[in-house]
């Protein structure tokens, strides 16, 4: 029972299902197992490291300059993006060639930037979250939420893209309706 409650709470906090963040990237991730693993890993790295960096920005940036938050988050994600690409390049050229498309797709993405703003908003409401560990954990959970949503979509991806679906609704329109129905189910369980 506790597990079910935890699962419902986890789903209810899912950024894709409840806030529609990173939906188009989700369609890319659900396309194949390789895309799912690649995108999920990179998005989770970005949300976790980005959230930890967001803690530093939130603690140092005075309230009256809050309009600059986006600029600092963007610079931070940009630096992470370049570091991750450079690290992959120096570790292995082969890995770099295989993984760079996932890094490009994930860096400046609603799922990543939305996570930073959501975590920051939660910390503003709850002061106990105001430490780097909690920020990073919340970012990691957001990454896992993306993986869960991608798995839910992967389960139906082939059927929603099959010839049995009317041509006009085949693929992305059917997937949007499918995610809407899952989202409605989670909404009713909250």
């Amino acid at each position: 029972m506790f597990l079910i409650n935890d699962l419902i709470m986890f789903l209810a906090a899912d950024l894709v299902l409840m806030q529609a963040l990173g939906t188009s990237t989700l369609f890319i991730a659900a396309g194949s197992k390789k895309n799912l693993v690649g995108t999920a890993v990179v998005i989770t790295v970005f949300t976790t490291a980005g959230s930890a960096a967001a803690y530093i920005i939130d603690s140092l940036l005075p309230e009256k300059y809050s309009v600059l938050t986006l600029l600092f988050y963007t610079v931070t994600v940009g630096i992470l993006y370049l570091i991750l690409l450079s690290a992959l390049y120096f570790i292995s050229r082969d890995k770099f060639e295989r993984s760079r498309k996932y890094v490009h797709v994930s860096a400046f993405n609603c799922a990543v930037m939305g996570t930073l703003f959501t975590v920051s908003g939660k910390a503003a409401q709850n002061s106990s979250m105001m430490n780097v560990g909690r920020y990073a954990l919340a970012g990691f959970e957001a990454g896992l939420g993306f993986v869960l949503a991608a798995l839910i979509l992967t389960a139906a991806y082939r059927r929603l893209s099959s010839a049995k679906v009317p041509a006009s609704f085949r693929g992305s329109p059917a997937m949007l309706i499918y995610i809407g129905i899952i989202s409605m189910a989670v909404y009713s369980l909250r």
Partner: protein, 209 residues
């Protein structure tokens, strides 16, 4: 095969939201009233237009990742005055829209389509094409805002109507997903019907010769 691409593709054949599925989160979550839709249209249009135009001066020789980061930083800078003006014009909508306002500054049209599409065109064509891609988003956002507000709350721009069979779930994100899915399907159906009739007409023209 002839290249039949036109500057109007952003509205008709390659709509930013309905065809390319870009910038769909704000449409799904914030496109539930006309007031929200108008506030989003203002921010998206201003940020995207000025960001892409300024970004077009970034040297092409730079590595791809560096250019993408610079584009995102430019749009984050453009966001600052846009946000300050929005606080004057749309103070209520800003608080309702929340995190989706800053997220407009890192939308795919600025970050990715610049390299893939706009910067491969000549400046004048790029400006016209960009204008219609932005208009493509604006039209979808406007229609979504009006229809969802009408069906969910029975109002249009906060004014009561006689419509009383309300579907309140349409104002929620799940309603946004379902509405956008249906909208995409209808758009595709109309687009394929128009393209088929064009093909038939062009075949007829060829046979006439």
């Amino acid at each position: 095969m002839n290249d039949t691409r036109t500057v109007f593709d952003g509205i008709t054949r390659d709509n930013t939201v309905l065809s390319a599925l870009m910038v769909i989160s704000p449409v799904i979550v914030c496109g539930n009233t006309l007031k929200n839709a108008v506030a989003m249209i203002y921010a998206f249009s201003a940020i995207t237009f000025f960001s892409v135009m300024i970004s077009s001066f970034v040297p092409k020789r730079l590595p791809y990742a560096v250019k993408i980061t610079i584009y995102a930083v430019i749009s984050s800078l453009i966001y600052i005055p846009v946000r300050l003006l929005a606080q004057e014009f749309y103070p209520d909508s800003i608080s309702r829209i929340g995190i989706y306002y800053p997220l407009l500054a890192v939308n795919s049209l600025i970050v990715f389509q610049t390299e893939a599409k706009f910067f491969r065109m000549k400046k004048l064509r790029m400006t016209a094409s960009l204008f219609f891609y932005i208009a493509g988003f604006d039209i979808v956002m406007l229609i979504t805002g009006i229809v969802r507000e009408f069906l969910a709350y029975g109002t249009i721009n906060s004014r009561m109507t006689d419509f009383d069979t309300l579907i309140s779930g349409l104002a929620e994100p799940f309603g946004g997903f379902i509405f956008l899915g249906l909208f995409c399907g209808i758009y595709r159906r109309i687009r394929s019907a128009v393209m088929q009739s064009r093909d038939i007409r062009s075949d007829g023209n060829v046979s006439d010769k």
